[in-house]
Structure formats: C-alpha cells, structure tokens
Symmetry: C2
Subunit: 153 residues, 2 copies
Amino acid sequence: MIFSSKAEYGVRLMVELGRQAAEQPTSLKAIADAENLPLAYLEQVVARLRKAGLVMSARGAHGGYWLARPAEEISMDEVVQALEGQIAPMECFVHEHTERVLCSHEPDAGRGCATKLLWTKVQGGIVRSLQTTTLAELVEFTRRFDRAPAGVA
Amino acid sequence: MIFSSKAEYGVRLMVELGRQAAEQPTSLKAIADAENLPLAYLEQVVARLRKAGLVMSARGAHGGYWLARPAEEISMDEVVQALEGQIAPMECFVHEHTERVLCSHEPDAGRGCATKLLWTKVQGGIVRSLQTTTLAELVEFTRRFDRAPAGVA
DNA sequence: CAAAATCCGATCCCGTTGGTAGGATATGGC
DNA sequence: GCCATATCCTACCAACGGGATCGGATTTTG
C-alpha cells in the first residue's frame, strides 16, 4: 500500500473541514463521529496538519479546527505531504540531513543508477497528480451527493 | 516509502539481465556479486519475476536466468507489479476476492467517497509513468556510462 | 559422484503502523 | 470559581510486514 491510514484519515478530516463555514471551529469529536474514526488517533493526525500550517485551532470549550486557507488554495500535494512526510518512491531518495528528495545511490561500478531513472518518473507522476488536485475539488465532489437520492445509479 | 526493496532489487536484476545476451543464462550469484545484494534474498525476488513469466530459468550447473522477452517489449509496469503486487494507493482499493483494484468504501452517510477520487488520480499517475517506461530504456541508460570516464561531470 | 545452480519453505529480527492511555493546559458558561 | 469541553502532548503497546537467513531438496553439467 502506498499511503497509510494517516493520509486517508487526514484527507477526510480536511474535506470535512472544507464543508464547514470558514473560521468557525469544528471539534474533532464531531468529525470523529461523522466519519466513524477513533478520536485519540485523529488528534495525532490533525497535529501534523496544524504543524504544517494547513489548519488552525482554538482550545477550550467550543474550540476546534478550521482551514487556515480557502479550500481552493490548498493543493492535495501539501496535505498528503504533511500527513505522510516526504513522498519518495524509494529509500535512497530521502536524504536524512537535507530532507531534500534525491537519489543517493553510489553510481555502481561507474554506471548510472538505472532505478533512479525509473523512480524519478514515478515520483513525478505522483506529485503531479497531487499538485493538480485542490481540496475544493474534493469538497465539491462530496456536495454532489448531498441532495442525491439514496439509490445511486 | 512507496516501493519496498523487492522492487529496487528486482528492477536492478532485470536491468542486469537486459545487459546480457538473450537466451544465455546468467547465474544469480553473478548478479548478486555485481550489484552487491544478498543472494538468498534475490532468490525470492527472482521467483516472483519467474512466476509472472518475465524471466526464464535453467537449473543445474551453468544454469541461470534470462529475459523471457526482448527488453523493448517489457514495460516496467509489469515488472513492478510482479514484484510488489497490486499497485494500490490505499487499502480499500484491493478487493481480496477479485484481486480487482477499486475502492470498496461504503459511501459514507450517502456521500461519495472523496478520498477515492484522489487515490484514483494518484494511482493513474503512477501506473502511467510505469507503463510508458520500458526495460530497454533503463538498460540503455546504464550503457551510456559504460565507456564514460570515472569522473562524471 | 561432485560441483553448481535453481527451487522451496520455515524461521527470525526489527521497524513501522494503528491505536490506547493518561494527563496537562486552555476556554466558555453557569 | 468550577466544571464541562476541548486542544495538546508524551509515552506506551500489540500486530504486522519487510528484509533477510538458513537448511535442504532437486536438477544439470563435467
């Protein structure tokens, strides 16, 4: 599996926030109930989104979370990256020091690293698909079903 | 990490075979030495490639492996799939029974599965990048360095 | 027969993942 | 002021899968 449940839960959480009015805090409990997810675990997930500056929070009674920016300006690339960390197809792409993503393979026997060529392409494919999707699109997608009848054609 | 070392090792193995003359068996030990990989583990990796019909084998002394088809006709999509199994961005995409790849999420609260939309895009990006790359391209890439001087600009 | 290989299954170590537990801190309403 | 609500933080744990090793069975060449 490519992404862990952190990504799944986190994206759902963002969509849920995108469906609410801006600036108005939504409690994690409300989201956990709506999506049927474990509250304590969601806390860890949302913490990543907060540290990445994608959501803001208010503590105390009637507190909660809301989107830091309009959903139209949030690309899913940022969201997934905040949840999963660097999106690298292979170990050698992650440089511990620089957090830069590149292949650190020694050119074996003087040859070029063939796998690098492949993984670079794959990574490009992934990042491009994420960058070209905004949170607003996902929110809009769910709205289409809000008034639809139960039976889906 | 998106792919495990099975993919890394397996792709290298395929490239190594692609560099050899067709039909002529190359022993795993030779490949393990050339790429500095654990022989016993490579056995498991190559078994997947064999079962997928991508390589053929001959047992006994002077036996080994070779490509079942010319490298030009092998898309990396097949290779990676054989090594890693179904390429699904998320758990819900794998149907145990059918081995078909699709999202099995219940439409929550009558809504469309928003994450499905996203994961589908990502999967498309990955598969497309793999399908448009042939083993021959990777082999060619390594050849470019065969005669190059040690110092790479 | 012996060496060189492919084949096959069982086992093991270990890091990650998903999840829980418990509490500290902040805020609003009474 | 107090209590309920809610975020925040850290530690902990069980289960799982990945990477790898081991031992041996089988096949083929010389």
